[in-house]
């Protein structure tokens, strides 16, 4: 018998819902997975597991929201603010480092299209920073790491959308939605990476 997809299990664990309902749900998923693996094969069983895990996420998030005390919400807000400050610092340091390397000639930036090259560098830096930020938020709010990373992603994406809207030129279309969505995905990815690493979340 193959074991259930561990990282998917870690993500569900990282949604911070009540331990009782979470363990019952994960146990049912594991038991149904084992049954389907016997009758339908491993590939079909995994496909079912991924689909059911996705369907379970809204219920688990609603359950976390229902059980979250004002103290939990304050702790979450604190984690988001702290990780935003951390992300800002990392972002400034990274950009200064890259600019310094370019000025020293260590990092060649294309002379033919410097604006495009800088845009790409900027986006890559933002993406990396978002992953680090998501990881940091998840680490700071260990009771629901994926929720913390998603909250950071939503906040940061919101700021980005506002910045795009008040920019002198309005880049509607792909860019207006691609950047905030990429930031959201990157921060949640960082949170998931943390949820998968946390030792207490590993199931026997």
């Amino acid at each position: 018998m193959t074991s259930v997809p561990r990282w998917t299990e870690s993500i569900l664990h990282g949604l911070g819902t009540d331990a009782g309902i979470r363990e019952d749900l994960l146990g049912d998923l594991a038991e149904e997975f084992a049954s389907r693996e016997t009758t339908d094969g491993t590939v079909a069983a995994r496909r079912w597991y991924y689909r059911e895990s996705l369907r379970a996420i809204p219920h688990l998030v609603r359950d976390w929201r229902r059980h979250a005390s004002p103290r939990d919400v304050r702790a979450l807000a604190g984690a988001v603010i702290a990780s935003l400050m951390f992300v800002l610092t990392v972002s400034v340091v990274l950009r200064l480092t890259v600019h310094g390397l370019v000025m020293l000639g260590v990092l060649p930036v294309s002379q033919l299209a410097p604006a495009a090259a800088w845009s790409i560098v900027g986006l890559l830096l933002a993406f990396n920073t978002a992953v680090i930020g998501g990881y940091a938020a998840a680490r700071m709010y260990s009771q629901a790491p994926v929720v913390a990373a998603a909250a950071l992603g939503a906040t940061w994406s919101g700021f980005t959308i506002v910045a795009l809207l008040i920019a002198p030129e309005l880049p509607w279309g792909t860019r207006a939605f691609a950047i905030p969505m990429a930031l959201m995905v990157a921060t949640v990815g960082g949170g998931i990476a943390r949820a998968c690493r946390a030792p207490r979340l590993r199931t026997p």
Partner: protein, 99 residues
């Protein structure tokens, strides 16, 4: 439907079997999360009580939670049956045609 499934399943009334029963009878694939949210709500209202078994290897070492309908749950079922019967009364004749 979840309460009825718990009554019907008896000692086999745990999350997995309840979901399978409800999904089969409703001809709709309900998610695991939806069933557990409902079970938790029913337990909070006092219509169900639960107990956990020992850890089971097939569940990744997790225990299984079994449910039973309480007296309050049975009263709620009887009330629902009575209300449903009165709503349907007189709508269809003996041939199954709408009156």
């Amino acid at each position: 439907m979840v309460l009825l499934a718990v009554v019907r399943l008896g000692d086999e009334a745990h999350g997995l079997m309840i979901r399978r029963d409800v999904s089969a009878r409703a001809e709709h694939d309900y998610s695991v999360g939806a069933v557990y949210t409902t079970l938790q709500r029913l337990e909070t209202k006092g219509f169900l009580r639960s107990r956990t078994t020992g850890p089971l290897p097939v569940r990744g070492g997790r225990s299984r939670r079994q449910f039973k309908v309480t007296a309050a749950g049975q009263r709620a079922l009887r009330d629902a049956q009575r209300v449903t019967a009165s709503v349907w009364m007189g709508l269809f004749d003996s041939a199954g045609e709408a009156t």
